[in-house]
Every structure is written in C-alpha cells, then in structure tokens.
Symmetry: C2
Subunit: 456 residues, 2 copies
C-alpha cells in the first residue's frame, strides 16, 4: 500500500550531505574561516545538520573508519564514532535524516541492531545505517587480525550480519507494546519472538531488547561498487552511495542495480541511487575554479600524489606531476582493491580537454579536487543545478550524496544558491512531508513480522 502510494507520487530528487569533518578537500580545515578543531567539535556537526535541515535535505551522512587511515600530520580524519555523534545531532534537529556508518567486520549484529534501533527511537525515525565491510589493514589490526579478511569473506559476513540485524529489528511486532496501566499488562510477549539464528558467522538467539522502531527498520544504506557490493546492495540497500564520474557510467550503474533488485523481488521504488558529488561553488565559473585551485594548492603535492598512487595501486614515484598517467596501470588486485575509485579516476584522467590530450597528473589532481574518486562539479549554482537536473531526469541518479568542498560554508552556498533553483524547477521539496527519513526518501515502511504472517 505504501509502495503504490510512493509510485503514484511525482519522482523527487534526494540530497544528503556527507559531513566529512571540515569538508571534502583535504585542505578544507586551512582557510581562515575554517575551525581546525571542527573534526572533533559536536557543534560543527550540529551546525552543518541545521543548515542541511534549513535546505530541506534528506539526511546527513557520516563515514567511519576503525583506525587512522590517512595522513593526520596534514589533515583531519573521521575521528568521532558516528552513532554517538548523530544522537547528539538528533537532539538539536527535528527533520533531517541521520545516516551513520558501521562495519560488519568488526562488530556484532546484536550490538549494531540495538545501536541503530536506539538512534531511530531517539530521533523519532530518522536513522540510517551505512553498511561497510572495512577493507584496510590498520582496522584489522585493531581487532586481533594480522590481515584483512578477503573480499568474498567480508561480503559473506556482511550479508549474514545484515539479515540478522533485520531479523532482530523485526523480533518485536509493531503492536507488541500494550502499556495497560490499570490491568498491569506491559508487553504482549507472544508478539516478541526469538530470531534463533544459526549461520556460518553468527549464532544469535534474540529477541532484541527494543520495541520495533518508528521506521520499522532504520534505512539501510550501502556503497556497492564491486560485484559482491552490488549483490549486497541489490538484496538489502534502500539507498546506495555510488561513485560515478560519467553520466553514462552512472546510468548503467543505476539500471544494473535496480534490475538486480527487481530480480530479487524488490519493487522499483525500493532503492535510491545517490552518486557522490563534490561541489565547488562560485558566483562565476572562474571564481569557482579559483576557489578550487586555491584549496588544491593548500594540499601538499606529495600527499596528493601518494593518494592518487594509492587509488591506482602504484608507487608515487611512477607519477610525474606534469606527465600523463603511465600506460598499463595494473587493475586493483587481490579482491580488496577499490575498483570503483580506480575506474572513476581513470575516467577523469582520460577525459580529453580542449587540446584533445589526456590530463597531466597535476591537472588530474586539480580535476579530482585533491582526489577521492567522487565526481566534482566546479561552477555557478545554475551550472550545478543544470547538471543535477540532467542526471536526475535521465535516471542516472535519484539524487546525490553531496560532499561540499569546505564545511559548513560550501553547504551554506549550496543551500542558498542551488536548492532554490531545484525547488523552482519542481524537482526538490520545499518542505518536509513527514517526520521520518523513510518519508523523505519515499521508502515504504517494512511491514514487520505480523503483517507478513497475515499476508501469507
């Protein structure tokens, strides 16, 4: 019923903001207007979330790492644990969705089910869980391992983990709570049942300690680039953060993922594809490019070269700043490489400029706004709105996971400049239409166990 209502409604654009501490650019903390301590300051995250809410965005998104995985002598990292941080943000906001990343490789499903259910309860139905499998060695070594579990193993664990978490979220039926003070009946225990899961990775008896959450399930988010990632996303994800550099690639990705989901019996409205998008905004395109170049110039070139080399799987000495990329780059190996970022980076490098040659490494780093594999648009609000509208209307994206260059002011510029254009063009909401993240994303509330039994 929810599903058909959603299908009848006009298709709407969805926008999240990825609060990557000071912003997407590794140098975002350096301009005079930035606060270097922002990465550990809850007030920074609250301020960004409040700007996002003023702009009627769908959600804020927090990445996570279970180790130091970047060069902190020069730049901030994701430091604060996202579920705890977003619970504070929840108390200072009313509508904005709250998506936190947590790893299936270094947690237990019972704990993750409870933490995200709690976030959904305390936020009145605004929680989302970004499911990651954590591919770096430094994280593995913080959890008793000498090596990263291989790709297939990590995704097998992630699939079972996610199923157990969903079962725990459904272990209380929606109407299990009675709360009859006069009769002294608190819970209908017939409606609270074990999950009794016995699998390859986990044995979990259940039930959860928690009544079903406002959203039924917190929204499941995934970043499915690899084959295993797409399989997991097609099965479970309700929003997917992809990394597509080109329109064609994005269109192919969205179609592939949605057809995989439909093959698994999920409806066409079950899934939102939201490519990453870094925005660098200026009053003119030239001003925006100046802003970008000033920010990129504040990044040590050695750092940018090392980062690019890391994505390409080569040593930095093979890169010359004013040369083109080497030919015959090795494909990411061992099942653990990040194919998505590799391909995206290569696509940018081979995007011919006006002189019809490949970009030099220096030009490539500028185009990538320092690197990271996500698409960068540098331009005026009008140019950015045009690009967003084109991708959205063609179905290359249901929306975007925004990664502003610098926070909060890059988001402020987006909300003041781009959002009103998208609203005027009729593709973005002018106000929230419901209290939950599912309402914002137009996702149906999962029916839960009792409704399933009734339907069977």
């Amino acid at each position: 019923m929810n599903r058909s209502r959603a299908a009848r409604a006009p298709r709407r654009l969805h926008l999240n903001v990825n609060i990557l501490h000071s912003g997407f650019l590794p140098s975002a903390w350096r301009p005079a207007g930035s606060d270097p301590r922002a990465f550990i300051d809850v007030q920074h995250y609250i301020r960004v979330a409040q700007i996002a809410e003023a702009g009627k965005l769908d959600a804020v998104f927090l990445a996570d790492n279970a180790a130091i995985v970047d060069q902190i002598h020069f730049r901030p990292i994701t430091a604060l644990e996202p579920t705890v941080l977003l619970a504070s943000v929840a108390a200072a906001t009313r509508h904005i969705g709250l998506i936190a990343t947590a790893s299936t490789s270094y947690n237990e499903p019972y704990n993750i089910a409870r933490r995200f259910a709690t976030l959904d309860h305390v936020s009145g139905g605004r929680a989302g869980w970004n499911v990651v499998t954590t591919a770096d060695l430094a994280s593995a070594r913080n959890f008793g391992r000498d090596a990263v579990p291989d790709h297939a193993q990590r995704y097998a664990r992630a699939a079972e983990f996610t199923s157990v978490v969903k079962a725990l979220w459904d272990s209380w039926e929606d109407d299990a709570f009675i709360g009859d003070q006069a009769a002294g009946r608190f819970i209908d225990t017939a409606k609270v049942q074990p999950v009794a899961h016995q699998g390859e990775f986990f044995s979990v008896q259940g039930p959860s300690t928690l009544p079903r959450t406002p959203q039924g399930h917190p929204v499941l988010v995934q970043a499915g680039g690899s084959g295993d990632g797409r399989t997991l996303a097609a099965r479970h994800a309700e929003a997917v953060f992809s990394a597509s550099q080109s329109f064609e690639e994005a269109l192919a990705y969205a179609r592939d993922l949605k057809s995989r989901a439909e093959a698994l019996g999920r409806g066409p409205e079950a899934l939102r594809v939201l490519p990453g998008l870094t925005t660098i905004i200026g009053d003119t395109e030239a001003a925006a490019r100046r802003r970008r170049d000033e920010l990129v110039d504040l990044i040590p070139w050695d750092y940018s070269l090392a980062r690019l080399a890391g994505i390409l799987g080569i040593t930095p000495d093979r890169l010359g700043l004013d040369q083109r990329l080497p030919e015959n780059l090795p494909l990411p190996g061992g099942g653990n490489g990040n194919h998505t970022f590799f391909n995206a980076t290569l696509a940018t490098a081979r995007r011919r400029d006006l002189t019809t040659r490949d970009l030099t490494t220096r030009e490539l780093i500028r185009e990538l706004a320092g690197g990271g594999g996500h698409r960068v648009i540098v331009g005026t609000p009008e140019q950015i709105a045009d690009d967003i509208e084109r991708w959205f209307r063609a179905g290359a994206a249901d929306g975007f996971n925004l990664m502003p260059d610098v926070l909060p002011d890059g988001l402020q510029a987006f909300v003041e400049g781009v959002v009103p254009l998208l609203q005027r063009r009729g593709i973005f909401r002018t106000d929230y239409e419901g209290p939950t993240l599912r309402d914002h994303l137009g996702l149906a509330r999962p029916p839960g166990r009792s409704a399933e039994s009734a339907a069977a």
Copy 2:
C-alpha cells in the same frame, strides 16, 4: 598536583541518579502520572537528567543488558542502548555527568574506547563508563555462546579489556593536536603512538582515531561486589556502585576497597564509593510507607516471589508469602551468583522488627520495595537527609547512586526536599564548580603518556 588540591578541599557528598526507565519499583510505570512508554522515550531521560542537573547532582547513570533479562509481560526493561541515548541527553544538558554501562564480554575494546571517547568529546567531558561483565545466559546466547563464561574468565577478560581501553585513550598525547592553518601542520604524529597490545584475550595495534578527551579518560565506574569484582574495582574504578544494606557492611566495604586501591599505589582520593539507595519520599513517614505499599501492591506477588527466589538461588515454591525465609539457603554457586545481592537480601530479612522476629517473605518484599538488593529508605526528606549524612560523615559512603521509586517524580521530590537540606548542612554543592564529571566527583585528570614520561 590535582590530587593534593583535592585532598585539601572539604570532603563533598556525591549523588548520581540511576535512570532505571520508569523508576526502581517494577510497578513504577503503572501510577496514573507515569508514562508507560517512558522506557523508550528520549524525552523522559532528558527530563530526568534536567531535574538531576537542577538539583546539582553529579551524574545520571544508565544500566544495560544485552538481552531481555526480566519479565516484560509485566514491566519495562533497559531497552535503549545507553551510549547513544546519553549522547542525546548530552545535547539537552550542560553540567550533569553521563555514565553508561557497557559489557566487556560482548564488545571489542577498540569500539568501546572510541564510543566513550566520543561521548566525552560531545558532552564536553561528562562521560563515564560503567564496566560490567554480563552474567546472564540470555546475553551469552545473543553473541554466539551456549553458556556464560565463568566468573574468573569474565573478570580476567574485563581487566585486560579495561587496560587496553585506557591505553587507547592515552594513545594521543594531550598536545598532539596542532591545527596550524598557515603552516599546514594538523597533528604532531610523534605524539600519536600505537598501543601494540598483545594479550590473552586481545590483540590491538592502535592508536585511537581520537584526540585525548576533555577528561583525559572518561570516568571508570564499576560495581565490584565479589572478590574478582573488588580486585578489578581497586585497580581501575574511580566510582564504585556498591550494594550495602547495613551501615556496618557499607563501612567495611568502603574501607576494604580503599585499602585495596591504596595497596595498588592509588591515592586515597582515587575512588568514590556510592552504594545504591532507593528513596520513597512522603511528607510524613506514614505517607511514604503508604506510597511504598501501594507501589508494591501493584507488583504481582508471583513476580516478586520469583525475583526474590532468583536472588536467593532457590525455586519460588520454597517461599511462603507469610512465612519467614527457609533456613540453610544455599550460597550462590558456580562463581556466577550475585553474592552482593544475596547477602544484602539476607541482611534485610534478618533485620528484626519490633517483635524481634525475622521478617516474613511478604514483609521482606515490602522492605525491599519489590526486590533488587539495594537499600530502601522510606520516609520524610528530613529522615532521608539524616541517613545520608550519617553514612557520609562516617565514611560508609562517599555518596549514593540514587534509585528513586518512580521517575521523574521520585527524583523531583528528592531534589526539592532532600537536596536543600544536604546543602544547608554543608555537605552538598550549591552549584557546579567545573564543567566535567571529574570536577563534580573531585577526581584528578589522568596525566596521560607525555606527562608520565616527563615524570619518569
């Protein structure tokens, strides 16, 4: 230096409130003024915390269970995960300390170190971690185990776990953060070092992802009743929630624990002993007793009998409501019984009344306000203040972990009635003297690695 300052300051009483959802009484959700949904309503926890803050209490405390461990057909349980819940409470309060329970048996030290460090950062230095080892079978079965690990094993793991967490909290020196925007120097990486822990239970490389927290370490709390528990508390705990029914027992416990801590080289100011205390307040003693009996009468007697039998380690059929407790009760066996609650319950049962006989089971259940093993005072604000002052001045307690009968109104009555008396008698603060939980508890900030090296 901090230590000697603390020693010179007048000794102050410390008061936490245990937000046990609707209150300590299993029937606390049933009176007309109570909200049955309080146990999953963040606004309830915020309201209680704000009342505690208005009363200048030290902290709110949240218990936790990783399974349903009580009879939910009749009563609420600890449902929401405490660190996430308290992060929301943090955003709605300014001074009150925030102590969350987390288990060392079913978590990883790296994750716990990050979550509590995050809570300390987002609250501006108000976090505390109550370290528990989780003794129930239902929890074990949610984490792949068929049996509860034995007592000694659990405490050995807890000791190693706590040491690793503290090492991670110290893995960044206090001045590792630079944040020099002009020079582009973000962190002094020489001051961020691995912990490189290899132990019996854990292998953790570190460092943490997080700068040292406002408190250095979140405050370490423990409830050390057994021998192993006291050893762990003496080594690590800065606040101990004990369960003492009698003044003599409390005095002996506090002396034992402090001498154990001193034997380990910790100063006399390193540790606060805070027995649990349920308060049932009335304008007259008779009114308070009526309130207690009405609340106890709202608990099914079968439930109270089963609960009491559970603490005593016998089957409920051995208890007659109007008979005294059976003789020759078995001591809690297998190293997993809760000796503290057993002894406390027995002490109450054998507290002779005016007719110099032991209490009947019904009378005992009334005295225990439904059970649970913590001490109950039923009386006027004056009577409660007298009792608190006596225990405090004699050194039987440094303060109390309050468990009001019904929340929030039992706490409101305490803050309005008892707190002003304690303030007038000069043993309780009239305002907060600093921003952190350590400030409230008069605990020194742990010096961290660089200061230790400098001292060596």
